[in-house]
């Protein structure tokens, strides 16, 4: 995964996805313990750290943008936007673009982590209002790195925390297990 982030600095797009059933530790490994990205950093804070340290090493000018979205029930929401409006997905010049998605320009690690913290908080508030939706929603953190130089480089880092993969509706798991699973996650 470190090599993945390094290649992102060289101009490749890269994606890290976490897949698994609810309670198996996707969010834990992506964000950190209990969503605390500072004390027990997960993959996302570490990769952000790697990105900024890597950018400091190079002499190139770079601009980093961060956007954080959630896909729930076939709707895309911006986690930085408190209004929680569903957004449209469009295709422009072969690229998939989410309309009106906020992209924040960040200049250091602290800013970036603070933004992600805000996003996570809004996600947890959604969790309560939308009946524990986090286990059934996918959150996608996009980091867009633009590097100046002889050739401009443009790389997109997708850090995806997918929804729980277990098959709820298909009757594979009985109600007790469900309760157990949700308890694990909500504790």
């Amino acid at each position: 995964m470190k090599s993945c982030i390094e290649s992102a600095l060289q101009g490749y797009n890269c994606t890290i996805m976490a897949y698994g059933q609810t309670g198996s530790g996707k969010s834990h490994s992506m964000f950190g313990l209990d969503g605390d990205i500072k004390l027990n950093p997960g993959i996302i804070p570490r990769s952000i750290q790697d990105i900024f340290q890597g950018l400091l090493k190079t002499s190139r000018k770079a601009v980093v943008h961060v956007s954080f979205m959630q896909v729930y029930n076939e709707q895309v929401y911006d986690l930085f936007d408190k209004r929680m409006l569903p957004l449209d997905v469009h295709e422009m010049n072969g690229n998939i673009v989410v309309k009106k998605l906020m992209q924040y320009r960040v200049s250091n690690i602290e800013q970036c982590l603070a933004l992600i913290d805000i996003g996570l908080k809004s996600r947890t508030t959604r969790e309560t209002t939308m009946n524990n939706a986090s286990s059934r929603s996918h959150s996608i953190l996009q980091i867009i790195i633009e590097q100046d130089g002889v050739n401009q480089m443009y790389s997109k880092v997708n850090l995806v925390d997918l929804a729980g993969s277990e098959r709820w509706g298909l009757g594979r798991i009985c109600n007790e297990q469900k309760a157990e699973l949700t308890n694990i996650n909500s504790r």
Binding site: M1, C4, S7, A8, G11, Y12, N13, C14, T15, I16, M17, A18, Y19, G20, Q21, G23, S24, G25, K26, S29, M30, I43, M69, V71, Y72, N73, E74, Q75, V76, V89, N95, I96, V98, N131, N132, R136, H138, I140, N151, Q152, M153, Y154, S155, K156, N158, V160, L162, A163, S165, E166, R167, W168, G169, R172, I173, N175, K178, A179, T182, S186
Partner: protein, 389 residues
């Protein structure tokens, strides 16, 4: 706190994950039998079925390096789920993505670089054929050098009382060089053209003596460049499909046709009793070629274009066709005085030669216009900002 999701709602909620699974499965299939012809039987990958897969379209099977972190629960009751997770991971492992570095070339700079390369190639071809001078200075030139040249020209101009006289002299003189010298090679021919055009260029500021020469120069240049920009673009676009060799051949052919024109011109004028000191003329021209000027003639030439002024001059000279023999003699005398050389003048040149001169000059101008855009193209590539402004 907890609600049991109904089958209907779970369908929509897990639709995206389901689609992700299908996408991964079909991508794995594609990657597996990659060697078989996919182009003929393209496999449909259902990216569009859900928002998640649409957003992650590039990450899954496109231009991306993708890591999949599969998490499992160690408890025995999740055995089924763990197996399905691992199956998914196994399928995802087979997917091949085609990552590439996203280099965004700076569009205008890139184009300029390409054009410069092309020009260099063309120039080298021209050098190889001996059409252009070997010592060629930079295309980009400061403005003040041009103005210096113009100041020199001004000093000459002061000697002439009548502005019109001076113009007529210049034109006729320019043609006399063409008449009296026999261009032997194509290279020499091009030099003549350049020189003649440079003379036309130098005539310009004499009219606007009141303004400072630098401002005139700037104005003139901007005007010309604006005019030229569109023309050059069109010409270049039309020329684009040509290969370098073809373009070179075109230029050579152009020069060849000019050579033929001059030859016919010479044969027509050879019989006429125009006695002008050939040596002085040729010497002067040679001097102008040899003397280390700040910038050679073609530099000033490249900045100039066939402006409406030249056509105006032509009209004026056409109207004064009647007293051209007299004027010619007077001008040649004046030139003699300026040069301080013995100069045998002859005023018995005929009307017919004048007409020939006019027609030939027109043709030459056409040729020069053609040559103009070639040089303009070069200049545009060398300093595009100047034109843009």
């Amino acid at each position: 706190m907890f609600q049991i999701p109904t089958i209907a709602s779970s369908h929509t909620e897990f639709h995206s994950l389901h689609t992700l699974g299908r996408c991964i499965a079909s991508l794995a299939k594609v990657s597996k039998d990659r060697n078989t012809d996919i182009a003929t039987n393209p496999v449909h990958i259902p990216y569009r079925d859900s928002k998640l897969t649409r957003i992650l379209q590039d990450s899954l099977g496109g231009n991306s390096k993708t890591c999949l972190l599969a998490t499992i629960n160690p408890s025995s009751i999740y055995g089924d789920e763990n197996i399905s997770t691992l199956r998914f991971a196994d399928r995802a492992h087979q997917v091949m993505t085609h990552a590439k570095i996203n280099k965004k070339a700076k569009s205008s700079d890139y184009e300029v670089a390409m054009l410069r390369e092309e020009i260099n190639r063309l120039q080298q071809l021209l050098y190889a054929n001996g059409i252009l001078d070997q010592q060629r200075p930079e295309l980009s030139m400061p403005i003040h050098d041009d103005t210096k040249e113009n100041e020199d020209e001004k000093e000459c101009v002061i000697a002439f009382e009548d502005e019109q006289n001076e113009r007529a002299h210049e034109e006729i003189f320019g043609d006399q060089i063409l008449v009296n010298s026999v261009p032997t090679t194509a290279a020499e021919d091009s030099k003549w053209i350049i020189q003649a055009n440079a003379k036309n260029a130098n005539q310009m500021p004499s009219e606007e003596m009141n303004c400072t020469p630098s401002t005139i120069e700037i104005k003139r240049r901007t005007m010309n460049l604006e005019q030229k920009q569109e023309e050059v673009r069109k010409a270049y676009q039309s020329n684009l499909p040509l290969s370098h060799n073809a373009a070179c051949e075109k230029i050579v052919g152009m020069l060849g046709s000019v050579l033929i024109l001059v030859d016919t011109f010479l044969t027509s004028t050879a019989t006429l009793p125009v006695v002008v000191d050939k040596q002085s003329c040729s010497r002067k021209s040679q001097e102008s070629l040899r003397t280390p000027r700040p910038y050679p003639d073609w530099c000033s030439f490249s900045a100039t274009t066939p402006s409406p002024k030249t056509s105006q001059q032509k009209k004026k000279t056409m109207s004064n066709k009647q007293d051209i023999p007299n004027r010619l003699s007077s001008l040649i005398n004046q030139r003699k005085r300026l040069k301080g050389e013995n100069f045998e003048s002859e005023s018995s040149s005929e009307e017919k030669t004048k007409l020939d001169l006019m027609t030939a000059r027109k043709k030459i101008k056409k040729k020069m216009q053609l040559r103009n855009w070639v040089l303009e193209k070069e200049q545009r590539a060398a300093n595009p900002l100047e034109i843009m402004q």
